[in-house]
Amino acid sequence: MKRKVSAVSKSADEIVYGLKREYLEKICSEGSRIDGRKFDETRGATVNTNFVPRAEGSAEVRLGDTRVLVGIKIEQGEPFPDTPKSGILTTNAELLPMASPTFEPGPPSPDAIELARVVDRGIRESKMIDLDKLVIKEGEKVWVVFIDMHILDYDGNLIDACSLGAVAALLEAKVPASQIGAEDFPLPINHIPITITFSKIGSNMLADPNLEEEEVEYARLSVATNENGDVVAMQKGEGGSITQEELFSAVDTSIKLGKDIRKRVLGK
């Protein structure tokens, strides 16, 4: 998700990049962020559900200038041979070229794949959805839940925007059981995971980085927690390291911010 430097202007771009990095490290070392937030302060997400009534569930999330749209489709399908008594969850992210001059059309990039897999793990490993209740006929037919995340506008921190959008869309999604003569029912929800991502700049962990921060980050860390304050998924990213202290400071902030978002944004 890093800026792509054109061959022509490489050296100029490199210089600007270096200056930006220095500047952000400097102000961080002085305790402040480029947009005035505190290190453990998010940009305050807004969630707009039912944006796509045609889908079984949907949510539009805005996080700063980042904007993603998550749609849920629920269809009948065959279970995997090794899990005949379980519904299926599948997650896909599209880094639409609409969202950034650095995103290109074509098959999913490693960035898009990582994004989809990190979001998927947060939902799957937290056991948010009770997949065992999505069986129509054991071993033959189950409900397949498709989470499709479309990135519309990119201003940093897609992991949190998409995770929140996926959770919000799943919370409102209905299983179209009327297709098989039953009544539609909401997805069976057990837990509500919230993911918080940090950029490490200098030796500070900045929650919910915006694009400018992401561009110069040394390392990235995402921590998903559930309503009990347990950690359910983590992912370190980018070619820099973090210390054990930084890790646990991030874990603590994630637990705190997770509670806040669960209540304030999702009303749970």
């Binding site: 009534p53 045609r54 609409m98 479309h150």
Partner: protein, 244 residues
């Protein structure tokens, strides 16, 4: 399936020459050079424009004009049955005709060796997405500051229950007898996009073309109002700033 009732009204209560509700917004995205959003009946379409920017790879550069590359894409969740991500043959064809229609209006010769990328994302589909996308796209091109002869604007006409009508909805598209997506340049009334399938006599075709043109002129006004609304709000912001 009956698509027109005894009172001459369609399944959604419209008259034969009545459009579905249309709403256009401009400048809705931050990263793109220009953008717009259109709701047209149940269609929800977002458009972003990037460019003119250097065409890449080099062998795609045209020494005498800009390329206009449209990419029409349907979100996986935009239709009843989930659509697999990535372009299918239908999307490739629609992208092609939309790009060609926009090229008719853009002063491409002012930007040789560049490309103007127009990304059209169908977030919810309800018949007529290509025309909705094209109509929004020309607004987004203006928003991106790209010089054009005039905006492109369109509207489908069609035939249901033996009658020529305007702006088919999904049911009418599926069970009707003909569909004619068409777009024009309002100033000159030239036709820049035209496709048709179904069955129409020459007279019906003439009627359909006229219906579509008239509606396009009306929608062209909506385009201009949307642009105006944006510039007014900018003006207000600026005045607000000056007043501070």
């Amino acid at each position: 399936m009956k698509l027109i009732n005894e009172e001459g009204l369609r399944t959604d209560g419209r008259k034969f020459n009545e459009l579905r509700p249309i709403k256009i917004e401009v400048g809705v995205l931050n990263r793109a050079d220009g953008s717009s959003y259109i709701e047209w009946g149940g269609n929800k379409v977002l458009v972003a424009v990037y460019g003119p920017r250097e065409a890449f790879p080099k062998h795609t550069q045209n020494a005498s004009r800009a390329n206009v590359n449209a990419r029409y894409n349907m979100a996986a969740f935009s239709v009843d049955e989930r659509k697999r991500p990535g372009p299918d043959r239908r999307a490739v064809e629609i992208s092609k005709v939309i790009g060609e229609a926009l090229r008719c209006a853009v002063f491409t010769e002012q930007f040789p060796r560049t490309t103007i990328d127009v990304y059209i994302e169908v977030l919810q589909a309800d018949a007529g997405t290509r025309i909705a996308g094209l109509t929004a796209a020309s607004v987004a091109l203006v928003d991106a500051g790209i010089p054009m002869k005039d905006m492109v604007v369109g509207c489908a006409a069609g035939k249901i229950d033996g009658k020529v009508v305007l702006d088919l909805n999904k049911e009418e598209d599926n069970f009707g007898q003909a569909d004619l997506p068409m777009a024009i340049i309002p100033r000159t009334q030239e036709i820049v996009l035209l496709q048709m399938d179904g069955n129409m006599s020459r007279d019906e075709l003439e009627e359909a073309v006229e219906l579509s043109k008239k509606a396009s002129m009306y929608i062209a006004d909506l385009q201009k109002q949307a642009l105006l609304a944006k510039y007014k709000s900018q003006e207000n912001e600026k005045e607000g700033e000056r007043g501070e």
